[in-house]
Amino acid sequence: MKSFFINLIIYIAIIGGVVFGFPKALSWYLDTPYPMAAITSGSMWPVLKEGSLVFIKSVKKEEVKIGDIIVYRNSNGFTIHRVVELGEKDLTTKGDANFQKDVSIKYEDIIGKTLTVFGRPAAIPYLGLISVAANK
């Protein structure tokens, strides 16, 4: 009975460590307070599909290039779109699946850019579905 409780405490500690520790560790490693984001629309289809979870890493103003997929803050919350124009003080993005460009944003609004693996954004399919459901 005693060993059962010890095992239970160990399992709870492992699960707690994974659930709470993983985002903290990821936040430290990617140098951003928002290391993960769920894709809640199809505006970046087919590169990023609705319901996927992407990883975000911090980016400096001078590191932002045309073609990067960035995450920025706006009045509706957060947006993940591709950079299409770079200016001195602001930049313009566009969703791959959209016909119109977005309204220009300031560099200060950028939270980060998507983490890429072999040149493609690192995304886990379906892991962001809970966030998508909550958003709807």
Partner: protein
């Protein structure tokens, strides 16, 4: 033949289990076994009874180009150019005296493009409804590519809602 029939007649699962494992089935094991068999049969029935539609759309060059191929056996959205959309409707009727829970799943490349008007809903006995499947072709769709996939329509009878 007679020997075979006699063998089947005399077959006892409990006896067979005891011979294989070396101890008889416990009561809770029997209950779990029966529950698992019922769940398996239910899943088997629901899967077998599901409607499976092949869905397809062809991306064409140009503006406002729509070409529909009205077939009944599949959800064919025909030829669509970027920025256009097409809608297909399916009528669904619940013929059984049980309320049925309807769940639809989309698979394949077309799944991100199809929007289903309603999903995860209850259909009362003898109730009819129309489901609209619409496809919008985004700016990032590849020209001359055929996006296809399947739509599975599962009808889960809710036994506790017998009317």
């Amino acid at each position: 033949m007679n020997i075979f029939l006699e063998k089947i007649k005399g077959f006892s699962f409990s006896q067979w289990w005891e011979n294989m494992i070396g101890e008889p089935l416990k009561t809770w094991e029997k209950i779990v076994g029966v529950v698992l068999i019922i769940i398996f049969l239910l899943v088997f029935y629901i899967t077998l009874d599901a409607n499976k539609f092949k869905a397809t759309v062809h991306v064409v060059e140009g503006e406002s180009v729509i070409g529909l191929n009205p077939t009944t056996e599949k959800l064919d959205f025909g030829d669509l150019s970027r920025g256009t959309s097409a809608v297909r409707r399916v009528e669904l009727k619940n013929d059984i005296p049980l309320s049925t829970y309807v769940v639809m799943l989309k698979t394949g490349e077309i799944s991100s493009l199809i929007d289903i008007s309603k999903n995860f809903f209850l259909l009362k006995p003898r109730e009819e409804t129309k489901i609209e499947y619409s496809v919008y072709m985004p700016a990032s769709a590849e020209i001359d590519k055929i996006y296809d996939g399947r739509v599975y329509l599962f009808k889960i009878p809710l036994i506790w809602l017998w009317k």
